[in-house]
Subunit: 244 residues, 2 copies
Amino acid sequence: MADDEYLRVFFRKLARRDLLSNEERDALRAAAGAGLVYEAKSDLVTEGDRPVISILLLDGFASRYRLLEDGSRQITAIHVPGDFVDLHGFVLKEMDHSVGALSHCQAVAFAHTDLQLITETFPHLTRLLWLMTMIDAGIQREWMVAMGRRSAAEQMARLVCELYVRLDVAGLIQANAFDLPLTQVELADALGISAVHVNRVMQELRAEGLFTWEGSRVTILHWDRLAQRAGFDDAYLHLEREPR
Amino acid sequence: MADDEYLRVFFRKLARRDLLSNEERDALRAAAGAGLVYEAKSDLVTEGDRPVISILLLDGFASRYRLLEDGSRQITAIHVPGDFVDLHGFVLKEMDHSVGALSHCQAVAFAHTDLQLITETFPHLTRLLWLMTMIDAGIQREWMVAMGRRSAAEQMARLVCELYVRLDVAGLIQANAFDLPLTQVELADALGISAVHVNRVMQELRAEGLFTWEGSRVTILHWDRLAQRAGFDDAYLHLEREPR
DNA sequence: CGTAGACTTGACGGCACTCAAACAAGGTGG
DNA sequence: CCACCTTGTTTGAGTGCCGTCAAGTCTACG
């Protein structure tokens, strides 16, 4: 039906990596359950939960995070539309971290029983779902490399590059610009630095004129120079379409 | 055969998380291919490779790492016996990072064609393999949290705790002690700090008397206090045995 | 027009970095 | 059997990135 196309952004993401058959699309449509809406700052899933559904983000931004005893927070992933934000729960069973909405979010639920059915009926589709979680893991590795071995400025520029490419896959880039509803405090928690330092580094990057970030609108001015500044290479996003 | 039991440590790791049927064990035995041996400092897989096998580590230690343009290195994971060090390659196809031997290593190869057969024949076993990669991803998240929000001392203590538990699953703890063939330079690359600082922090922890680290032998003296010092909680290792 | 949230700025301190050299221990060859 | 080399660990000095604390500005909103 016309309505089915709310999965478009997800199909687009999968099809970017491999052929997605009509049967597989149908299986996903059949497994898609209730629509979900979350307001900014609310949790989609909370550490310790044992979810019976997995959530596919359709619109808005979400973060994967953990809170420490001293109240500090580390964001370990930022999710964009088309991301399956907690396929983890399907195999892990118990959540070892939380997923929160960075903005108003729309999502769709996939019951674990239906996902299990997919794993028992559609091996290739299962591998693609597995692939999605492995690409997420690759993104995490890249964040780690940046946290451990790059300067705060490079790290921040790198994040902008990454989100640009991922949002492009989701079809959310218009004229080299995209929405990114992240406060400097949230950015700090994602980069593993302090909010004050985020502010200073942001000014430094602004002065370099590679991109602008006004309100929640990011505009890339010089992609090549930005990517170079950030030491960014999109290989880890595995954008090649090939048999998996 | 008697020889089959070289997969024991892997079976042990899987069975710790869910029931592993005899059919599944047989399927894994059938898929296990050539034995592999690597000397310390050699690569099991190199960034950019398109492997046609995946490697299960049977003995020794390996690291997952990326090299940057300026020659610096970030280790993103440390693998112990029983870890499938590059199941990644099976779904990602092209490696976006390298895996190197930290010590002399023995491993066994699983052809991707055989793994593909498993995904098409053993859905439950497939979910378990997927689970192994998701636990690795959870470990990565925990490393990120430590890198971003903990002090170098906590981070180092945390790594010792994690390896203690993971090696225990592999059956490699004797009398609260285990081998850990990591130089301070390698430790530095894993923690995202400098080698000089590793040395100083190590002395600090030594003075606290929570564990000893002599040569490549680590001995835990006070587990509870060490875990507390490190802010360590093993929930993210998902050690509960339950239907997946 | 007052308040809340986000951003910005300044002062100051410390954790961690770099550079450089010394020390320890195992391995090798003459 | 002992210089000598290599690899790893340790130490010192000097520096700087980045953290904390604290206050001030700006904007949106009721």
